[in-house]
């Protein structure tokens, strides 16, 4: 069946399936953990351990993601929730930009994707920490306009309280949440894989070559790709590694750092919760930081 399809489509579907096969276990794992996080981690607990010093709070926010992994697809609702519960903005956003990157699952999948090499995983983690510190500082010391949309403050506490549930029922809802997460984020993985495999088969080389001719253009192209492909951070390392031979280290690091922080689906979710002006400032700042970081490494 389907033998009638053009040869190039079949080749593309082969590449597509191979990307999916390599990415899907990480997406499944990430979704289940994200589900557990949703259930077991309450903002109250976070607040209890949070230091008062602003800078320390940023640092805590940056490293929080290592212990409480979640992928970028679920992160906007989580930090919106955080901020409603009074977690300071600089902690919440430091968490938002690092959590999809410095968590063990993503670092591990990055490690695997680049042939069991720590190099890209490290560059990626360091880059995201840098962005988190700068974004956090900006929010803590310079930015004073409101971020969260008003109406979101109003129905505070409507979903609460998460009363004492048994561990069993909590685990159950973590798993069901994981399924939701899978069907929500999985589709972005499929779209990304389709675009990536299509590019491999149909994008003529000389076109790409022109785009990769200088370091800075390569980095900018990869930022745009990261945004348009909207890959899940658990999977994007595999796509990134397949593009390594085309774009080189700098541009791929930019892709790996930028992708989980800003992409189409993320943006749509952010627009629901935050003021547009703030989102634009945030993205501009992240883009500049990532570009400079990727350029100098």
């Amino acid at each position: 069946m389907f033998n009638f399809l053009p040869h190039s489509v079949l080749q593309m579907s082969t590449i597509f399936l191979s990307i999916v096969i390599e990415a899907i276990p990480f997406v499944l794992l990430g979704c289940i953990i994200s589900g557990a996080l949703q259930v077991f981690l309450t903002p109250e607990r976070v607040q209890k351990i949070l230091p008062n010093n602003k800078f320390l709070a940023i640092v805590v926010g940056s490293f929080l993601g290592f212990f409480f992994p979640s992928c970028e697809c679920g992160i906007v609702p989580i930090i919106t929730q955080f901020m409603r519960k009074g977690v300071p903005e600089h902690t919440a956003f430091a968490f938002m930009v690092t959590a999809p990157i410095i968590n063990p699952i993503v670092l591990f999948s990055t490690y695997i994707a680049f042939g069991n090499s720590m190099k890209f995983a490290l560059l990626r983690a360091v880059g995201s920490l840098l962005v988190a510190l700068l974004i956090g500082s900006w929010l803590a010391y310079f930015k004073h306009a409101p971020i969260l949309k008003k109406e979101l403050h109003l129905h505070e506490e409507t979903h609460e309280p998460e009363t004492k549930k048994t561990f069993r029922s909590n685990s159950w809802s973590a798993l069901t949440h994981g399924i939701d997460e899978f069907f929500d984020t999985g589709r972005y993985l499929i779209i990304g894989s389709l675009i990536a495999s299509g590019m491999q088969v149909y994008l003529p080389t000389h076109f790409m070559l022109q785009l990769t001719s200088t370091k800075i253009v390569g980095i900018l192209v990869m930022l745009i790709l990261a945004f348009t492909m909207s890959l899940c951070s658990e999977a994007d390392a595999f796509v990134g590694s397949s593009l390594l031979s085309l774009f080189g280290t700098n541009a791929i690091v930019a892709f790996l750092v930028f992708g989980p922080m800003v992409d189409i689906k993320n943006l749509l979710m952010m627009k629901r919760s935050f003021h547009t002006k703030f989102i634009i400032q945030l993205i501009a700042l992240i883009s500049v930081i990532v570009t400079i970081y990727a350029f100098v490494i």
């Binding site: 069946m1 389907f2 033998n3 080749q11 579907s13 082969t14 590449i15 597509f16 399936l17 191979s18 096969i21 390599e22 899907i24 276990p25 499944l28 289940i32 679920g74 609702p77 929730q81 680049f114 042939g115 069991n116 090499s117 190099k119 409507t158 979903h159 159950w172 809802s173 798993l175 069901t176 949440h177 399924i179 939701d180 997460e181 899978f182 069907f183 929500d184 999985g186 589709r187 499929i190 779209i191 990536a196 495999s197 491999q200 088969v201 994008l203 003529p204 080389t205 070559l209 990769t212 200088t214 370091k215 595999f238 397949s242 390594l244 031979s245 080189g248 700098n250 749509l268 979710m269």
Partner: protein, 282 residues
């Protein structure tokens, strides 16, 4: 119900690929554990979904997509969004089971381009080497490890005057030849590959390639040698050949440099091997 079918579908797809042996057409089987991870996780989620489904049938009201989200928006609230999500997620299942499994060929070489210069100089980045032609796995190891490994491998082949390239040592030998071309010049070599012909001005260059898989087909590239075929032999793209000949260095105009090539003494057309790929061993 659709969710259950899709989730269990992933479990079955992985099992199918594993059992039918088609897995090696998509990924390096070194990463087989990814398949087991997927099987385990998708099975667990499928069972959870099965229970939700069974539960909702009993109650008759509970829509699985609308359970308590605790203020969490999934962007799947509209029916058409759900339909699109299900369609997309079912796509790999359709491709995996119904599409014929085919191997990559010169279409990809042309699209992904091997005509692309090794741009070390232009970018000023030593890692900006294309994976084409020269299987440079150095980006995957740190420098000293890499050199150690290379020297060790080199010892294995240094003394042989005749290189027999097989499926198992294909990438290894090709990498060595490109790294230490001078040590190999004059040795005889025999290997298999498919023909890729490229033209620059009036000159025709023939290559014998195989797709080498490091992790998965998506990151594969073509590895092989330029060949100077005897004039009485005519070949066309995608034709599989077994060649024997002597390794030399030849100027390759599009790359503006000398690359290893084979002065072929004997060439025979062969059937495409059952598994066209070669894999990087770890």
């Amino acid at each position: 119900m659709i969710r259950f079918l899709i989730l269990s579908g992933y479990f079955e797809l992985m099992m199918y690929l594993q059992v039918s042996g088609r897995l090696d057409q998509y990924i390096n089987v070194h990463y087989r554990y990814l398949i087991f991870l997927t099987m385990f996780l998708s099975l667990v989620l499928a069972l959870v979904q099965l229970k939700i489904w069974a539960g909702s049938e009993k109650k008759g009201t509970h829509d699985p997509a609308h359970h308590d989200h605790a203020g969490h928006d999934h962007g799947l609230s509209k029916p058409y969004q759900r339909a699109i999500a299900y369609l997309l997620l079912a796509l790999p299942l359709v491709v995996g089971t119904l599409f014929p499994t085919i191997s990559l060929d010169t279409t990809i070489v042309e699209a992904k381009g091997f005509s692309f210069p090794i741009s070390k100089e232009s970018v000023g980045d030593p890692e900006m080497t294309t994976q084409y032609l020269k299987p440079d796995t150095s980006i995957y190891y740190n420098k000293s490890d890499y050199n150690d490994q290379m020297t060790k491998l080199m010892k294995k082949y240094e003394t042989d005057q005749k290189l027999e390239v097989t499926d198992d040592n294909y990438l290894e030998v090709m990498e060595l030849i490109y790294n230490y071309p001078n040590s190999f010049v004059g040795k005889t070599i025999s290997f298999n590959g498919f023909v890729y012909e490229t033209k620059k001005d009036t000159q025709t260059y023939d290559f014998l390639f195989r797709f080498g898989i490091i992790h998965c087909v998506a990151d594969s590239g073509v590895f092989g040698l330029m060949t100077k075929l005897p004039p009485n032999i005519s070949v066309k793209n995608n034709e599989w050949l077994h060649v024997e000949g002597t390794i030399t260095l030849d100027f390759f105009e599009p790359f503006q440099r000398q690359i290893p090539s084979v002065a072929v003494t004997k060439a025979t057309t062969i059937r495409a091997p059952k598994n066209q790929y070669v894999y990087r061993a770890f």
